[in-house]
Symmetry: C2
Subunit: 312 residues, 2 copies
Protein backbone atom coordinates (compact mmCIF):
# COMPACT_ATOMS: atom_id res chain seq x y z
CA UNK A 1 0.00 0.00 0.00
CA UNK A 2 1.33 3.41 -0.90
CA UNK A 3 0.92 6.42 1.33
CA UNK A 4 -2.52 7.90 0.83
CA UNK A 5 -2.13 10.77 3.20
CA UNK A 6 -1.68 13.20 0.34
CA UNK A 7 -5.23 12.40 -0.78
CA UNK A 8 -6.55 14.37 2.13
CA UNK A 9 -5.00 17.63 0.91
CA UNK A 10 -7.54 19.63 -1.00
CA UNK A 11 -6.13 23.12 -0.51
CA UNK A 12 -5.70 25.86 -3.08
CA UNK A 13 -1.98 25.21 -3.34
CA UNK A 14 -2.48 21.77 -4.85
CA UNK A 15 -1.66 21.71 -8.55
CA UNK A 16 -4.29 20.38 -10.91
CA UNK A 17 -3.07 17.83 -13.45
CA UNK A 18 -2.46 18.95 -17.05
CA UNK A 19 -5.10 17.93 -19.54
CA UNK A 20 -4.34 14.66 -21.32
CA UNK A 21 -3.63 14.67 -25.05
CA UNK A 22 -2.34 12.18 -27.58
CA UNK A 23 -2.49 8.42 -27.88
CA UNK A 24 -3.53 6.69 -24.66
CA UNK A 25 -3.70 2.91 -24.56
CA UNK A 26 -6.38 0.94 -22.69
CA UNK A 27 -3.74 -1.63 -21.78
CA UNK A 28 -4.91 -5.24 -21.89
CA UNK A 29 -4.53 -7.24 -18.66
CA UNK A 30 -2.78 -10.64 -18.96
CA UNK A 31 -3.92 -13.51 -16.74
CA UNK A 32 -2.19 -16.63 -15.45
CA UNK A 33 -3.76 -20.09 -15.67
CA UNK A 34 -5.51 -19.55 -12.32
CA UNK A 35 -6.98 -16.32 -13.77
CA UNK A 36 -4.93 -14.09 -11.48
CA UNK A 37 -3.25 -11.05 -13.02
CA UNK A 38 0.18 -11.76 -14.47
CA UNK A 39 1.82 -8.61 -13.15
CA UNK A 40 5.26 -9.25 -14.67
CA UNK A 41 3.81 -9.57 -18.14
CA UNK A 42 1.48 -6.66 -17.52
CA UNK A 43 4.18 -4.24 -16.41
CA UNK A 44 6.41 -5.27 -19.32
CA UNK A 45 3.51 -4.63 -21.71
CA UNK A 46 2.76 -1.23 -20.21
CA UNK A 47 6.39 -0.10 -20.32
CA UNK A 48 6.73 -1.21 -23.93
CA UNK A 49 3.62 0.73 -24.94
CA UNK A 50 5.15 3.90 -23.54
CA UNK A 51 8.49 3.17 -25.26
CA UNK A 52 6.67 2.53 -28.53
CA UNK A 53 5.01 5.93 -28.54
CA UNK A 54 2.00 5.95 -26.24
CA UNK A 55 1.54 9.27 -24.50
CA UNK A 56 -0.06 7.43 -21.64
CA UNK A 57 -2.05 4.43 -20.47
CA UNK A 58 -5.81 4.44 -20.03
CA UNK A 59 -5.55 1.37 -17.83
CA UNK A 60 -8.53 -0.36 -16.26
CA UNK A 61 -10.85 0.35 -19.16
CA UNK A 62 -13.13 -2.03 -21.01
CA UNK A 63 -10.30 -3.53 -23.08
CA UNK A 64 -8.41 -4.06 -19.81
CA UNK A 65 -11.31 -6.21 -18.56
CA UNK A 66 -11.46 -3.83 -15.60
CA UNK A 67 -15.05 -4.82 -14.91
CA UNK A 68 -13.87 -8.41 -14.53
CA UNK A 69 -11.30 -7.36 -11.90
CA UNK A 70 -12.38 -7.00 -8.31
CA UNK A 71 -11.82 -3.70 -6.55
CA UNK A 72 -8.79 -4.88 -4.60
CA UNK A 73 -7.18 -5.94 -7.88
CA UNK A 74 -8.04 -2.62 -9.49
CA UNK A 75 -6.26 -0.73 -6.72
CA UNK A 76 -3.39 -3.18 -6.81
CA UNK A 77 -2.89 -2.66 -10.56
CA UNK A 78 -2.32 1.07 -10.10
CA UNK A 79 -0.01 0.63 -7.14
CA UNK A 80 2.08 -1.94 -8.99
CA UNK A 81 2.44 0.24 -12.07
CA UNK A 82 3.58 3.24 -10.04
CA UNK A 83 5.93 1.10 -7.98
CA UNK A 84 7.40 -0.28 -11.23
CA UNK A 85 8.40 3.24 -12.21
CA UNK A 86 5.63 4.27 -14.56
CA UNK A 87 4.90 7.94 -13.82
CA UNK A 88 1.43 8.27 -12.34
CA UNK A 89 0.72 11.26 -14.57
CA UNK A 90 0.86 8.94 -17.55
CA UNK A 91 -2.05 6.92 -16.15
CA UNK A 92 -5.73 7.57 -16.85
CA UNK A 93 -7.47 4.67 -15.11
CA UNK A 94 -11.12 3.74 -15.22
CA UNK A 95 -12.68 4.10 -11.77
CA UNK A 96 -16.37 3.77 -12.53
CA UNK A 97 -18.63 1.41 -10.58
CA UNK A 98 -22.41 1.14 -10.28
CA UNK A 99 -22.55 2.70 -6.79
CA UNK A 100 -21.45 6.13 -5.64
CA UNK A 101 -19.54 4.66 -2.70
CA UNK A 102 -17.45 2.25 -4.74
CA UNK A 103 -16.80 4.87 -7.44
CA UNK A 104 -15.56 7.27 -4.76
CA UNK A 105 -13.36 4.59 -3.23
CA UNK A 106 -11.67 3.74 -6.53
CA UNK A 107 -11.42 7.38 -7.60
CA UNK A 108 -9.89 8.62 -4.34
CA UNK A 109 -7.36 5.84 -4.48
CA UNK A 110 -6.36 6.69 -8.04
CA UNK A 111 -6.19 10.41 -7.35
CA UNK A 112 -4.09 9.81 -4.23
CA UNK A 113 -1.48 8.13 -6.43
CA UNK A 114 -1.24 11.22 -8.64
CA UNK A 115 -2.86 9.96 -11.85
CA UNK A 116 -3.49 12.34 -14.75
CA UNK A 117 -7.21 11.82 -14.45
CA UNK A 118 -9.84 9.10 -14.25
CA UNK A 119 -12.28 7.70 -16.80
CA UNK A 120 -15.77 7.61 -15.35
CA UNK A 121 -18.36 5.14 -16.57
CA UNK A 122 -21.95 6.10 -15.81
CA UNK A 123 -23.63 3.94 -13.13
CA UNK A 124 -24.40 1.11 -15.51
CA UNK A 125 -26.79 -1.20 -13.69
CA UNK A 126 -30.06 0.67 -13.95
CA UNK A 127 -31.49 1.45 -17.38
CA UNK A 128 -33.36 4.50 -18.70
CA UNK A 129 -31.85 6.76 -16.07
CA UNK A 130 -32.37 10.50 -16.49
CA UNK A 131 -29.84 13.25 -17.11
CA UNK A 132 -30.83 14.65 -13.71
CA UNK A 133 -30.03 11.33 -12.05
CA UNK A 134 -26.67 11.08 -13.83
CA UNK A 135 -25.84 14.67 -12.93
CA UNK A 136 -26.63 13.96 -9.27
CA UNK A 137 -24.41 10.87 -9.39
CA UNK A 138 -21.40 12.74 -10.82
CA UNK A 139 -21.89 15.74 -8.52
CA UNK A 140 -22.00 13.48 -5.48
CA UNK A 141 -18.84 11.65 -6.58
CA UNK A 142 -16.98 14.95 -7.05
CA UNK A 143 -18.19 16.25 -3.70
CA UNK A 144 -17.11 13.14 -1.84
CA UNK A 145 -13.74 12.74 -3.54
CA UNK A 146 -13.16 16.36 -2.57
CA UNK A 147 -9.74 16.71 -4.12
CA UNK A 148 -8.55 19.50 -6.41
CA UNK A 149 -6.36 17.00 -8.22
CA UNK A 150 -9.39 15.16 -9.56
CA UNK A 151 -9.71 15.38 -13.35
CA UNK A 152 -12.74 13.52 -14.68
CA UNK A 153 -12.99 12.16 -18.21
CA UNK A 154 -16.51 10.88 -18.85
CA UNK A 155 -16.54 7.46 -20.46
CA UNK A 156 -19.24 7.15 -23.11
CA UNK A 157 -19.90 3.56 -24.13
CA UNK A 158 -23.64 3.05 -24.68
CA UNK A 159 -23.09 -0.37 -26.27
CA UNK A 160 -22.04 -1.61 -22.81
CA UNK A 161 -23.91 0.73 -20.49
CA UNK A 162 -27.01 1.62 -22.55
CA UNK A 163 -26.37 5.17 -21.27
CA UNK A 164 -25.16 8.13 -23.32
CA UNK A 165 -23.68 11.23 -21.70
CA UNK A 166 -25.95 13.61 -23.58
CA UNK A 167 -24.40 16.84 -24.89
CA UNK A 168 -26.83 18.78 -22.67
CA UNK A 169 -25.64 16.93 -19.59
CA UNK A 170 -21.99 17.25 -20.60
CA UNK A 171 -22.52 21.01 -20.97
CA UNK A 172 -24.07 21.27 -17.51
CA UNK A 173 -21.22 19.33 -15.93
CA UNK A 174 -18.60 21.48 -17.67
CA UNK A 175 -20.44 24.60 -16.56
CA UNK A 176 -20.71 23.56 -12.92
CA UNK A 177 -17.37 21.73 -12.58
CA UNK A 178 -15.14 23.44 -15.17
CA UNK A 179 -11.86 22.45 -13.53
CA UNK A 180 -12.87 18.86 -12.83
CA UNK A 181 -14.97 17.61 -15.76
CA UNK A 182 -12.33 18.12 -18.42
CA UNK A 183 -12.84 15.48 -21.09
CA UNK A 184 -14.69 12.49 -22.51
CA UNK A 185 -13.73 9.23 -24.12
CA UNK A 186 -16.25 8.34 -26.79
CA UNK A 187 -16.57 4.65 -27.58
CA UNK A 188 -19.98 5.04 -29.21
CA UNK A 189 -18.53 5.25 -32.72
CA UNK A 190 -21.15 7.91 -33.46
CA UNK A 191 -19.29 10.56 -35.45
CA UNK A 192 -22.11 13.06 -35.15
CA UNK A 193 -22.12 12.76 -31.35
CA UNK A 194 -18.37 13.26 -31.14
CA UNK A 195 -18.42 16.24 -33.49
CA UNK A 196 -21.27 17.83 -31.56
CA UNK A 197 -19.16 17.73 -28.42
CA UNK A 198 -16.12 19.13 -30.25
CA UNK A 199 -18.13 21.99 -31.72
CA UNK A 200 -20.05 22.88 -28.58
CA UNK A 201 -17.23 22.57 -26.06
CA UNK A 202 -13.92 23.88 -27.41
CA UNK A 203 -11.05 22.91 -25.12
CA UNK A 204 -12.94 19.93 -23.73
CA UNK A 205 -10.66 16.90 -24.26
CA UNK A 206 -12.56 14.47 -26.48
CA UNK A 207 -10.95 11.12 -27.28
CA UNK A 208 -12.60 8.88 -29.87
CA UNK A 209 -12.03 5.19 -29.17
CA UNK A 210 -11.27 4.51 -32.79
CA UNK A 211 -8.15 5.54 -34.64
CA UNK A 212 -10.18 5.04 -37.82
CA UNK A 213 -11.76 8.43 -37.22
CA UNK A 214 -8.68 10.03 -35.68
CA UNK A 215 -7.70 12.27 -38.60
CA UNK A 216 -11.22 13.61 -38.93
CA UNK A 217 -11.43 14.04 -35.15
CA UNK A 218 -8.10 15.86 -34.85
CA UNK A 219 -9.11 18.27 -37.60
CA UNK A 220 -12.17 19.14 -35.51
CA UNK A 221 -10.13 19.61 -32.34
CA UNK A 222 -10.06 16.19 -30.65
CA UNK A 223 -7.44 15.64 -27.95
CA UNK A 224 -6.25 12.30 -29.30
CA UNK A 225 -7.59 8.78 -29.09
CA UNK A 226 -7.92 5.90 -26.63
CA UNK A 227 -8.09 2.77 -28.76
CA UNK A 228 -8.09 -0.96 -28.02
CA UNK A 229 -5.88 -1.70 -31.02
CA UNK A 230 -3.23 0.66 -29.68
CA UNK A 231 -2.33 -2.37 -27.54
CA UNK A 232 -0.86 -3.94 -30.66
CA UNK A 233 -0.33 -1.06 -33.10
CA UNK A 234 0.52 1.98 -31.05
CA UNK A 235 3.40 3.10 -33.26
CA UNK A 236 1.27 3.56 -36.36
CA UNK A 237 -1.37 5.44 -34.41
CA UNK A 238 1.31 7.67 -32.92
CA UNK A 239 2.65 8.39 -36.43
CA UNK A 240 -0.84 9.44 -37.45
CA UNK A 241 -1.24 11.62 -34.36
CA UNK A 242 2.11 13.31 -34.99
CA UNK A 243 1.62 13.64 -38.73
CA UNK A 244 -2.01 14.64 -39.06
CA UNK A 245 -1.15 18.03 -40.51
CA UNK A 246 1.58 16.62 -42.78
CA UNK A 247 1.49 15.33 -46.37
CA UNK A 248 1.17 11.65 -45.40
CA UNK A 249 -1.81 12.12 -43.08
CA UNK A 250 -4.34 10.30 -45.25
CA UNK A 251 -1.98 7.38 -45.90
CA UNK A 252 -1.30 7.01 -42.20
CA UNK A 253 -5.02 7.17 -41.48
CA UNK A 254 -5.79 4.53 -44.11
CA UNK A 255 -3.16 2.15 -42.78
CA UNK A 256 -4.36 2.50 -39.19
CA UNK A 257 -7.97 1.96 -40.27
CA UNK A 258 -7.08 -1.19 -42.23
CA UNK A 259 -5.50 -2.83 -39.21
CA UNK A 260 -8.40 -1.89 -36.98
CA UNK A 261 -10.94 -3.29 -39.43
CA UNK A 262 -9.03 -6.57 -39.52
CA UNK A 263 -9.33 -6.98 -35.73
CA UNK A 264 -12.90 -5.77 -35.24
CA UNK A 265 -14.83 -8.93 -36.25
CA UNK A 266 -13.03 -10.94 -33.56
CA UNK A 267 -13.92 -8.67 -30.64
CA UNK A 268 -11.47 -6.15 -29.26
CA UNK A 269 -10.49 -7.95 -26.08
CA UNK A 270 -9.83 -11.47 -27.39
CA UNK A 271 -8.59 -9.85 -30.61
CA UNK A 272 -5.76 -7.76 -29.20
CA UNK A 273 -4.84 -10.42 -26.65
CA UNK A 274 -4.54 -13.05 -29.37
CA UNK A 275 -2.27 -10.81 -31.43
CA UNK A 276 -0.07 -10.18 -28.39
CA UNK A 277 0.06 -13.93 -27.71
CA UNK A 278 1.22 -14.65 -31.26
CA UNK A 279 3.69 -11.80 -31.37
CA UNK A 280 5.33 -12.72 -28.10
CA UNK A 281 5.02 -16.47 -28.57
CA UNK A 282 3.16 -16.80 -25.28
CA UNK A 283 -0.29 -18.41 -25.58
CA UNK A 284 -0.99 -17.23 -22.02
CA UNK A 285 -1.59 -13.74 -23.35
CA UNK A 286 -4.75 -14.94 -25.13
CA UNK A 287 -6.50 -15.87 -21.88
CA UNK A 288 -9.57 -13.82 -20.91
CA UNK A 289 -11.67 -13.88 -17.76
CA UNK A 290 -15.22 -15.25 -17.75
CA UNK A 291 -17.76 -14.27 -18.93
CA UNK A 292 -15.63 -13.49 -21.99
CA UNK A 293 -14.39 -16.23 -24.32
CA UNK A 294 -10.95 -16.56 -25.88
CA UNK A 295 -10.71 -17.17 -29.62
CA UNK A 296 -10.50 -20.77 -30.78
CA UNK A 297 -7.73 -22.07 -33.01
CA UNK A 298 -9.51 -21.36 -36.27
CA UNK A 299 -10.50 -17.83 -35.24
CA UNK A 300 -6.92 -17.22 -34.14
CA UNK A 301 -5.58 -18.21 -37.56
CA UNK A 302 -8.14 -16.06 -39.35
CA UNK A 303 -7.40 -13.05 -37.17
CA UNK A 304 -3.64 -13.28 -37.59
CA UNK A 305 -4.00 -13.71 -41.37
CA UNK A 306 -6.34 -10.72 -41.59
CA UNK A 307 -3.99 -8.52 -39.58
CA UNK A 308 -0.98 -9.59 -41.67
CA UNK A 309 -2.89 -8.85 -44.86
CA UNK A 310 -3.79 -5.41 -43.49
CA UNK A 311 -0.08 -4.74 -43.10
CA UNK A 312 -0.21 -4.82 -39.29
Amino acid sequence: MLDRKAAETAGEAVKRPEKATGVWVPAATPFKADLSIDFDRYITHCKKLLEDGAHGLAVLGTTSEANSLDFVERENVLERLVKAGIPADRLLPGTGAPSIGDTVRLTRHAVSLGVRGVLLLPPYYYKNVSDEGLYAFVAEVIKRVNDRRLALYLYNFPQMTTITWSPVLVGLLIQDFPDTVVGLKDSSGQVHYMETLLEQFPGFAVFPSSESMLLRALRKGAAGCISATANTHVTGIRWLYDGWEGPDAQDLQDMAARVREAVQPFGWIPGVKTILAAREGTPDWARVRPPLDALNEEQTKELLAAVAEAGG
Copy 2:
Protein backbone atom coordinates in the same frame (compact mmCIF):
# COMPACT_ATOMS: atom_id res chain seq x y z
CA MET B 1 -18.21 -7.81 12.18
CA LEU B 2 -19.63 -11.23 12.89
CA ASP B 3 -17.48 -14.30 13.14
CA ARG B 4 -16.72 -15.63 9.67
CA LYS B 5 -14.71 -18.60 10.74
CA ALA B 6 -17.61 -20.93 10.03
CA ALA B 7 -17.35 -19.99 6.36
CA GLU B 8 -14.20 -22.03 6.11
CA THR B 9 -16.00 -25.27 6.98
CA ALA B 10 -16.92 -27.12 3.85
CA GLY B 11 -17.08 -30.65 5.20
CA GLU B 12 -19.70 -33.29 4.52
CA ALA B 13 -21.29 -32.76 7.92
CA VAL B 14 -22.45 -29.26 7.06
CA LYS B 15 -26.18 -29.07 6.48
CA ARG B 16 -27.41 -27.57 3.25
CA PRO B 17 -30.14 -24.95 3.56
CA GLU B 18 -33.72 -25.93 2.76
CA LYS B 19 -35.05 -24.72 -0.55
CA ALA B 20 -36.87 -21.38 -0.35
CA THR B 21 -40.60 -21.25 -1.08
CA GLY B 22 -43.35 -18.69 -0.70
CA VAL B 23 -43.45 -14.92 -0.77
CA TRP B 24 -40.04 -13.31 -0.47
CA VAL B 25 -39.76 -9.53 -0.42
CA PRO B 26 -36.98 -7.56 -2.14
CA ALA B 27 -37.02 -5.13 0.76
CA ALA B 28 -36.58 -1.47 -0.20
CA THR B 29 -33.67 0.38 1.42
CA PRO B 30 -34.48 3.73 3.10
CA PHE B 31 -31.92 6.53 2.97
CA LYS B 32 -31.25 9.53 5.19
CA ALA B 33 -30.78 13.04 3.80
CA ASP B 34 -27.03 12.42 3.39
CA LEU B 35 -27.94 9.30 1.35
CA SER B 36 -26.62 6.90 3.99
CA ILE B 37 -28.78 3.89 4.87
CA ASP B 38 -31.37 4.56 7.55
CA PHE B 39 -30.83 1.29 9.40
CA ASP B 40 -33.47 1.90 12.07
CA ARG B 41 -36.18 2.43 9.48
CA TYR B 42 -34.82 -0.44 7.40
CA ILE B 43 -34.87 -2.99 10.21
CA THR B 44 -38.35 -1.90 11.26
CA HIS B 45 -39.53 -2.35 7.65
CA CYS B 46 -37.97 -5.80 7.35
CA LYS B 47 -39.43 -7.02 10.62
CA LYS B 48 -42.88 -5.75 9.68
CA LEU B 49 -42.75 -7.55 6.34
CA LEU B 50 -42.10 -10.83 8.14
CA GLU B 51 -44.90 -10.12 10.63
CA ASP B 52 -47.25 -9.28 7.77
CA GLY B 53 -46.76 -12.61 6.08
CA ALA B 54 -43.52 -12.66 4.12
CA HIS B 55 -41.83 -16.05 4.17
CA GLY B 56 -38.52 -14.29 3.82
CA LEU B 57 -36.62 -11.28 2.54
CA ALA B 58 -34.84 -11.20 -0.79
CA VAL B 59 -32.79 -8.24 0.39
CA LEU B 60 -30.17 -6.50 -1.74
CA GLY B 61 -32.04 -6.99 -4.97
CA THR B 62 -32.85 -4.47 -7.67
CA THR B 63 -35.76 -2.97 -5.72
CA SER B 64 -33.41 -2.64 -2.74
CA GLU B 65 -31.11 -0.46 -4.89
CA ALA B 66 -28.37 -2.96 -4.05
CA ASN B 67 -26.40 -1.89 -7.08
CA SER B 68 -26.37 1.63 -5.69
CA LEU B 69 -24.91 0.40 -2.39
CA ASP B 70 -21.17 -0.09 -2.10
CA PHE B 71 -19.84 -3.48 -1.08
CA VAL B 72 -19.11 -2.48 2.50
CA GLU B 73 -22.71 -1.33 2.84
CA ARG B 74 -23.99 -4.55 1.31
CA GLU B 75 -22.13 -6.60 3.88
CA ASN B 76 -23.19 -4.23 6.63
CA VAL B 77 -26.88 -4.61 5.70
CA LEU B 78 -26.79 -8.36 6.24
CA GLU B 79 -24.86 -8.14 9.48
CA ARG B 80 -27.25 -5.54 10.88
CA LEU B 81 -30.33 -7.62 9.99
CA VAL B 82 -28.94 -10.73 11.64
CA LYS B 83 -27.84 -8.75 14.67
CA ALA B 84 -31.35 -7.28 14.90
CA GLY B 85 -32.72 -10.77 15.33
CA ILE B 86 -33.93 -11.61 11.85
CA PRO B 87 -33.11 -15.28 11.26
CA ALA B 88 -30.47 -15.60 8.58
CA ASP B 89 -32.36 -18.45 6.96
CA ARG B 90 -35.11 -16.00 6.12
CA LEU B 91 -32.67 -13.96 4.00
CA LEU B 92 -32.00 -14.46 0.31
CA PRO B 93 -29.65 -11.59 -0.55
CA GLY B 94 -28.38 -10.54 -3.96
CA THR B 95 -24.63 -11.02 -4.15
CA GLY B 96 -23.95 -10.53 -7.85
CA ALA B 97 -21.24 -8.19 -9.12
CA PRO B 98 -19.57 -7.83 -12.50
CA SER B 99 -16.33 -9.53 -11.43
CA ILE B 100 -15.77 -13.04 -10.13
CA GLY B 101 -13.69 -11.76 -7.23
CA ASP B 102 -16.28 -9.32 -5.93
CA THR B 103 -19.11 -11.84 -6.41
CA VAL B 104 -17.14 -14.39 -4.40
CA ARG B 105 -16.45 -11.85 -1.67
CA LEU B 106 -20.12 -10.91 -1.27
CA THR B 107 -21.32 -14.51 -1.60
CA ARG B 108 -18.88 -15.94 0.96
CA HIS B 109 -19.84 -13.23 3.38
CA ALA B 110 -23.56 -13.95 2.99
CA VAL B 111 -23.09 -17.71 3.23
CA SER B 112 -20.95 -17.32 6.34
CA LEU B 113 -23.90 -15.62 8.03
CA GLY B 114 -26.12 -18.61 7.30
CA VAL B 115 -28.47 -17.16 4.69
CA ARG B 116 -31.00 -19.40 2.94
CA GLY B 117 -29.36 -18.76 -0.39
CA VAL B 118 -28.11 -15.98 -2.64
CA LEU B 119 -29.55 -14.39 -5.77
CA LEU B 120 -26.91 -14.26 -8.48
CA LEU B 121 -27.03 -11.66 -11.23
CA PRO B 122 -25.03 -12.56 -14.33
CA PRO B 123 -21.87 -10.45 -14.80
CA TYR B 124 -23.71 -7.51 -16.27
CA TYR B 125 -21.08 -5.20 -17.72
CA TYR B 126 -20.16 -6.96 -20.95
CA LYS B 127 -22.85 -7.54 -23.56
CA ASN B 128 -23.47 -10.47 -25.91
CA VAL B 129 -21.66 -12.89 -23.67
CA SER B 130 -21.97 -16.59 -24.48
CA ASP B 131 -23.56 -19.37 -22.46
CA GLU B 132 -20.08 -20.89 -22.20
CA GLY B 133 -18.74 -17.68 -20.70
CA LEU B 134 -21.61 -17.45 -18.22
CA TYR B 135 -21.20 -21.11 -17.29
CA ALA B 136 -17.49 -20.53 -16.64
CA PHE B 137 -18.32 -17.51 -14.48
CA VAL B 138 -20.81 -19.42 -12.30
CA ALA B 139 -18.59 -22.50 -12.03
CA GLU B 140 -15.65 -20.36 -10.93
CA VAL B 141 -17.77 -18.58 -8.32
CA ILE B 142 -19.00 -21.91 -6.90
CA LYS B 143 -15.46 -23.33 -6.87
CA ARG B 144 -14.04 -20.33 -5.04
CA VAL B 145 -16.86 -19.97 -2.50
CA ASN B 146 -16.26 -23.65 -1.78
CA ASP B 147 -18.98 -24.04 0.83
CA ARG B 148 -21.62 -26.76 0.98
CA ARG B 149 -24.04 -24.24 2.46
CA LEU B 150 -24.09 -22.24 -0.77
CA ALA B 151 -27.53 -22.30 -2.47
CA LEU B 152 -27.59 -20.28 -5.69
CA TYR B 153 -30.73 -18.76 -7.15
CA LEU B 154 -30.00 -17.36 -10.60
CA TYR B 155 -31.39 -13.87 -11.07
CA ASN B 156 -32.84 -13.35 -14.52
CA PHE B 157 -33.45 -9.70 -15.34
CA PRO B 158 -32.56 -9.05 -18.99
CA GLN B 159 -34.14 -5.57 -18.91
CA MET B 160 -31.28 -4.53 -16.62
CA THR B 161 -28.50 -6.91 -17.61
CA THR B 162 -29.29 -7.61 -21.30
CA ILE B 163 -28.45 -11.22 -20.39
CA THR B 164 -30.90 -14.13 -20.15
CA TRP B 165 -30.03 -17.35 -18.32
CA SER B 166 -31.02 -19.56 -21.23
CA PRO B 167 -32.89 -22.79 -20.41
CA VAL B 168 -30.01 -24.73 -21.96
CA LEU B 169 -27.51 -23.06 -19.63
CA VAL B 170 -29.81 -23.46 -16.62
CA GLY B 171 -30.07 -27.17 -17.43
CA LEU B 172 -26.29 -27.55 -17.61
CA LEU B 173 -25.82 -25.77 -14.30
CA ILE B 174 -28.47 -27.92 -12.59
CA GLN B 175 -26.85 -31.02 -14.05
CA ASP B 176 -23.33 -30.13 -12.91
CA PHE B 177 -24.20 -28.43 -9.60
CA PRO B 178 -27.48 -30.10 -8.55
CA ASP B 179 -27.11 -29.30 -4.86
CA THR B 180 -26.00 -25.71 -5.38
CA VAL B 181 -27.91 -24.25 -8.34
CA VAL B 182 -31.36 -24.72 -6.89
CA GLY B 183 -33.56 -21.94 -8.22
CA LEU B 184 -34.12 -18.84 -10.32
CA LYS B 185 -35.87 -15.54 -9.88
CA ASP B 186 -37.39 -14.46 -13.15
CA SER B 187 -37.90 -10.73 -13.58
CA SER B 188 -38.17 -10.95 -17.35
CA GLY B 189 -41.96 -11.06 -17.30
CA GLN B 190 -41.78 -13.59 -20.13
CA VAL B 191 -44.40 -16.20 -19.25
CA HIS B 192 -43.15 -18.61 -21.89
CA TYR B 193 -39.62 -18.48 -20.48
CA MET B 194 -40.82 -19.12 -16.94
CA GLU B 195 -43.07 -21.99 -17.99
CA THR B 196 -40.27 -23.56 -20.01
CA LEU B 197 -38.13 -23.68 -16.87
CA LEU B 198 -40.99 -25.08 -14.79
CA GLU B 199 -41.70 -27.81 -17.33
CA GLN B 200 -38.10 -28.77 -18.01
CA PHE B 201 -36.80 -28.68 -14.44
CA PRO B 202 -39.31 -30.03 -11.92
CA GLY B 203 -38.22 -29.24 -8.37
CA PHE B 204 -36.13 -26.27 -9.48
CA ALA B 205 -37.35 -23.31 -7.42
CA VAL B 206 -38.65 -20.72 -9.88
CA PHE B 207 -39.88 -17.39 -8.52
CA PRO B 208 -41.63 -14.99 -10.91
CA SER B 209 -41.07 -11.35 -9.96
CA SER B 210 -44.69 -10.53 -10.55
CA GLU B 211 -47.59 -11.58 -8.36
CA SER B 212 -49.77 -10.88 -11.40
CA MET B 213 -48.74 -14.25 -12.80
CA LEU B 214 -48.48 -16.00 -9.45
CA LEU B 215 -51.62 -18.15 -9.72
CA ARG B 216 -50.67 -19.35 -13.17
CA ALA B 217 -47.11 -19.93 -12.00
CA LEU B 218 -48.12 -21.87 -8.87
CA ARG B 219 -50.37 -24.12 -10.95
CA LYS B 220 -47.32 -24.97 -13.04
CA GLY B 221 -45.16 -25.66 -10.00
CA ALA B 222 -43.50 -22.32 -9.17
CA ALA B 223 -41.93 -21.99 -5.72
CA GLY B 224 -43.51 -18.62 -4.95
CA CYS B 225 -42.72 -15.07 -5.96
CA ILE B 226 -40.23 -12.29 -5.25
CA SER B 227 -42.06 -9.08 -6.03
CA ALA B 228 -41.26 -5.38 -5.59
CA THR B 229 -44.84 -4.57 -4.60
CA ALA B 230 -44.62 -7.08 -1.75
CA ASN B 231 -42.88 -4.18 0.01
CA THR B 232 -46.28 -2.51 0.29
CA HIS B 233 -48.82 -5.29 -0.23
CA VAL B 234 -47.33 -8.45 1.17
CA THR B 235 -50.46 -9.56 2.98
CA GLY B 236 -52.58 -9.81 -0.17
CA ILE B 237 -49.84 -11.70 -1.97
CA ARG B 238 -49.54 -14.07 0.97
CA TRP B 239 -53.32 -14.69 0.86
CA LEU B 240 -53.00 -15.58 -2.79
CA TYR B 241 -50.04 -17.86 -2.11
CA ASP B 242 -51.91 -19.63 0.68
CA GLY B 243 -55.21 -19.77 -1.16
CA TRP B 244 -54.21 -20.64 -4.69
CA GLU B 245 -55.99 -24.00 -4.58
CA GLY B 246 -59.06 -22.58 -2.82
CA PRO B 247 -62.31 -21.13 -4.17
CA ASP B 248 -61.17 -17.49 -3.97
CA ALA B 249 -57.95 -17.97 -5.88
CA GLN B 250 -58.97 -15.97 -8.95
CA ASP B 251 -60.36 -13.10 -6.88
CA LEU B 252 -57.16 -12.92 -4.85
CA GLN B 253 -55.14 -13.01 -8.04
CA ASP B 254 -57.21 -10.23 -9.61
CA MET B 255 -56.88 -7.99 -6.58
CA ALA B 256 -53.11 -8.46 -6.39
CA ALA B 257 -52.76 -7.77 -10.10
CA ARG B 258 -54.81 -4.56 -9.87
CA VAL B 259 -52.54 -3.12 -7.20
CA ARG B 260 -49.44 -4.06 -9.12
CA GLU B 261 -50.72 -2.48 -12.31
CA ALA B 262 -51.42 0.75 -10.42
CA VAL B 263 -47.77 1.00 -9.30
CA GLN B 264 -46.03 -0.12 -12.48
CA PRO B 265 -46.20 3.14 -14.51
CA PHE B 266 -44.29 4.98 -11.76
CA GLY B 267 -41.32 2.61 -11.61
CA TRP B 268 -41.01 -0.06 -8.94
CA ILE B 269 -38.37 1.58 -6.78
CA PRO B 270 -39.73 5.14 -6.50
CA GLY B 271 -43.20 3.62 -6.59
CA VAL B 272 -43.00 1.39 -3.54
CA LYS B 273 -40.89 3.91 -1.62
CA THR B 274 -43.46 6.66 -2.22
CA ILE B 275 -46.27 4.42 -0.97
CA LEU B 276 -44.26 3.60 2.16
CA ALA B 277 -43.56 7.32 2.69
CA ALA B 278 -47.27 8.15 2.50
CA ARG B 279 -48.37 5.23 4.62
CA GLU B 280 -45.89 5.96 7.39
CA GLY B 281 -46.10 9.74 7.08
CA THR B 282 -42.34 9.98 6.58
CA PRO B 283 -41.32 11.70 3.33
CA ASP B 284 -37.78 10.40 3.93
CA TRP B 285 -38.91 6.97 2.73
CA ALA B 286 -39.37 8.35 -0.79
CA ARG B 287 -35.69 9.19 -1.18
CA VAL B 288 -33.70 7.18 -3.78
CA ARG B 289 -30.00 7.18 -4.59
CA PRO B 290 -28.65 8.65 -7.82
CA PRO B 291 -28.84 7.81 -10.66
CA LEU B 292 -32.50 7.11 -9.83
CA ASP B 293 -35.03 9.91 -9.40
CA ALA B 294 -37.74 10.20 -6.76
CA LEU B 295 -41.28 10.97 -7.88
CA ASN B 296 -42.32 14.61 -7.95
CA GLU B 297 -45.38 15.93 -6.14
CA GLU B 298 -47.77 15.40 -9.02
CA GLN B 299 -46.57 11.86 -9.71
CA THR B 300 -46.88 11.10 -6.01
CA LYS B 301 -50.53 12.20 -5.98
CA GLU B 302 -51.29 10.19 -9.12
CA LEU B 303 -49.64 7.07 -7.75
CA LEU B 304 -51.42 7.21 -4.41
CA ALA B 305 -54.77 7.81 -6.11
CA ALA B 306 -54.19 4.90 -8.50
CA VAL B 307 -53.26 2.53 -5.67
CA ALA B 308 -56.27 3.61 -3.60
CA GLU B 309 -58.55 3.06 -6.57
CA ALA B 310 -57.07 -0.40 -7.07
CA GLY B 311 -58.07 -1.19 -3.51
CA GLY B 312 -54.49 -1.28 -2.23
